[in-house]
C-alpha cells in the first residue's frame, strides 16, 4: 500500500476483538485516524450495540473493508473502497480507488470510536 500519511498516525493502539490471527497488527479506533488516512476494518464490532453494528455492517463497514477517512471529527466521514479487500484483484493502491468504486458513510463520533481498524502494513 502506498500511503505516506499513515506514517504520521499516532493512534492509541488497543487490541480489537477479531478472531485470533485475523489482525496482523494492533487495531485503533476509527476516530484516531486523520483525514486522508486509509485503514482496514477489523472483525465484529462487539463493543457497539448489536443493532447499530448490524446497520453499520449493512452500510458497508464490514470486516476487511478498506476505508479512507474523508473528514475526521464530528461527523466522521469515510469512503469504503470496494474490492480493496483482495490484494490480487483490482486494488493495489487504495488511493487509486478513491471515488471510483466506493461509497461514502457518515458516522457520529460516538459510533466511529467503536469501529476498530488496522493500519496498512
Amino acid at each position: 500500500m502506498s500511503n505516506n500519511s499513515n506514517n504520521a498516525a499516532t493512534p492509541n493502539h488497543t487490541n480489537c476483538d477479531c478472531p485470533p490471527g485475523h489482525c496482523q497488527q494492533k487495531s485503533v479506533a476509527l476516530t484516531s485516524l486523520r483525514e486522508g488516512q486509509t485503514a482496514v476494518v477489523c472483525a465484529a464490532m462487539t463493543s457497539m450495540p448489536t443493532d447499530d453494528a448490524a446497520y453499520v455492517r449493512a452500510l458497508g463497514l464490514r470486516p476487511s473493508a478498506h476505508v479512507r477517512v474523508c473528514r475526521a471529527g464530528q461527523p466522521c466521514i469515510v469512503e469504503v473502497l470496494s474490492g480493496a479487500s483482495d490484494d490480487s484483484a483490482c486494488c493495489q493502491d487504495d488511493a487509486s480507488l478513491a471515488g471510483s468504486c466506493s461509497c461514502r458513510i457518515g458516522l457520529s463520533r460516538e459510533l466511529a470510536q467503536h469501529v476498530m481498524v488496522e493500519l496498512p502494513r
Binding site: E35, D51, D52, A54, Y55, V56, R57, A58, L59, G60, L61, R62, S64, C70, R71, Q74, P75, I77, E79, V80, S82, G83, S85, D86, S88, A89, C90, A95, S96, L97, A98, G99, S100, C101, S102, C103, R104, I105, G106, L107, S108, E110, L111
Partner: protein, 698 residues
Amino acid sequence: MTTATHEPEHPPAAPQIPTRVALVGNPNTGKTTLFNALCGLRHKTGNFPGTTQEARVGRLRHTSQSIDLIDLPGIYSLELDLSESEIARRVLAGSLAAPGMIQAAPDTVCVVVDATNLERNLVLVGEVLRRRLPTIIALNMIDLARKRGVAVDPAQLAQELGCPVVAVSGRTGEGLDDLCKQKSHVPLNNRTPPNTQEGVEAWASQTFVAAMARTRAHAGKRDTTQAAKASQRTDRIDRVLTHPVLGLAFFAAVMFGLFYSIFSLAAIPMGLIETIFGSLTTWLQAKLPPGILTDFITSGVIAGVGSTLVFLPQIMLLFFLISLLEDTGYFARAAFLVDRFMRPFGLSGYAFVPLLSSHACALPGIMATRAIPDTKERLAAILVAPFMSCSARIPVYVLLTTLLFPGKPAMQALAFIGCYALGAAAGMFSALIARRTILKGKARAMALELPTYKMPSIKTALMTTWDRGLMFTKKAGTMILAICIVLWWLSSYPKLPTPAKAQQYHEVADQLDAGTITAFDARNQTFGPLHGELKGRGEQPSHLSMLLRREADAIYGREVTSNSFLGRIGKTIQPVFAPLGYDWQLSIGVLASFAAREVFASTMAVITTGSDDAESETAMQRIATATRADGVTPIFTPAVSWSLLVYFVLAMQCLPTLAVTAKESGGGSAGLKWAALQLIWMCGIAYVAALIVYQVLS
C-alpha cells in the same frame, strides 16, 4: 448497451410470462429514477395493506406484455430489523402484496445495483438469490461508472451470479428496452449464495473480485485519476457543508432561497388560477338564473374549491424544490449538521428525514420514523412530527402572511420561514420535555450513507411534483369540496327576509335609477356605515345606485350568515376563542380546520361571501376585507392574524395524523393514549401561545 444472460447449468422451469416484477435495491442506487423511466406516469401510489409504508405499482411502457412493477422501499439488507426490510421480506415471501395485486411471491425480482458501488450492492443480490426466485440484475448508473473509470462487464458478472445482468442508466434511458425484454423470460438462477450473513458478505466480495478480475483482464487497467480528483472535490464540499458554522450558514441560505422561490415564482400561476375562478363565477352568475342553484355553484363549490386550489402552485413548487435538493445528495449531509442541534433535545439526526418529510405531510413523516432505531426516540419523533409545518398549513400561512405583508414578498418569505422555525422549535421543546419525562433516554448515535453529489433529475422531481399535486387536487375535489358544500348549506340556511336597512337601500337605489330623486337626496336618506363613504362621492346617480345595492347585499349577507346554522354554531363556540381575538366567523374557520387545515381558507371564503362585492374581487381580497358582524371592524386585524398564524403553526388539526400516530405508536389503547396526548399537548400549547401573541399585540 450491454446485456448478458448466463447459460443455466440446468434447464429452467417451463417458460412463464411474469406479470409481477418486484424492484429491490439499496437506497441511492437510482431505483426511483429507473422506476419513473420505465413506468412514466402510469403508476399508482398507495400503502401496502396493513402497513403505512408507501407502495408504488407501475405498468411497463416498453413492452407489449402486461408487466406490473412493484417499487419496494430502498433497503441495505433484507435481514435488518427495520420496517422497510420487513416489507421487502414479506413481499418476496408472498405474504404481503401491493394494493390491487394478488398475494403471492413476485414472478421476478429485479435487483437494482449501483455499478459504482458494486461490492456492497452484491450483498443484497446474494440475499435475494438465496430465496430462489427468478432474478434479474439491473446494473444501474453504468454511465457514471464508465465516467469514473469503473469497467464492469455484465457478461462476466452474469457468469458469476448465475442470473441475467443488464447494464442500464435510468438517467439516460440506456438499456431500458433490453431490461424489459429480459424481464419477460427470466430463468431461475443457478447459483445459491450461503445462508449465513457472514457467508453472503464473503460471497459478495469473492463474486465482485472475480467479476472485476475478469473484466480487468479484458479491459486492461482502468484510469481512476478523474475519479480520485472527484473524490477529493467531494471531501472539500463535505467539509464545508458539515462545518458547524459554514454548513449552518449554507443550510439557512438554502432554506431561505427555497421559501423565497415559493412565494415569488408561484405568484403568477396563483394569479392565473384566481382570475380563472373569478371569471368562471362572473360568467356563471351572468348565465344562470338567480337562485339557490347559482348560489350553490358560485358560493359553495367554486368559492370553496377555488380558494384551496389557488395554493396548488406553491405546494407543487415546494415538492419540486425539495425533490431537487434531495436528489443532489445534500440532505444526508444536512442530517449530520442538524444532529448536533437535535441531540440536546433527545433526538438524533435519524429524525431529520422524518421531520423534514413532515414538512410535506405529517403522515409520511410519522411513517418514516420507523427508520429511527431507538423505540423511545421514535415515539418522541412521532409525537413532535406534526409540529413541523406541513403542506396543508401552506394555504393558511400564505393567506395570513399575505394579509400581514401585502405586496412584500421578502417579508412574506421571512414570516413564512418564521412559521417553520416556530413549528420546529416547538417540536424540539416538546421532544425535550418528553425525553426528560415519559420517554427518558439519550439520542442514538448516527450512521448514514452520504450519496454522491450529482445534478438533480428534473424528470424525477417533476414526477414527484405531479404525484403530490394530484393528491392535493384529489383532496380538494373530494373531502374539501364536501366540507365546502356542508359549510355553504350551514351558512346559507335558514333563509331570512331582507333586513329593513337593506330594503331601504334597495328602494333608494330604485328611485335613483328611475330619476325620481337626486344623488343629494339619496345621500341624505341613507345612514349607517355607508353614509361616510357616500359623502363627497357618487355624484353620478348610476354609481351611487350601484354602491347602495352592493351595501344592501352585504347587509343581507351578514344577516343571513349571522343567523344561519353555522353562525349559531360559531357563536356557541366563540367564547372559547374570544380571548384569542377570534369572532364567531373565525371560530368557525378554526373549528372546520380540525377536519383538514387546508379547509380554513375555503371556509373563510364561503363564510365571507356576501359580506362584500364577490363579483369583482378575488377570494383573497374578499377574505382580507371581510368584516365582523358590525360591518366595520375587520376580522383580520394584525393582532388577530398573528395570533391565528401562531395557532395554526402549533395546533394539532389533522384527524388522519392522529390515526397514524395511534397506529404507529403501538396501536390499541396504548396508541390511542399517545394520540390523545399529542392532541391535548399541541392544542394546549397552540392556545396558550396564540393567547399571549394576541394579548401582547392588541
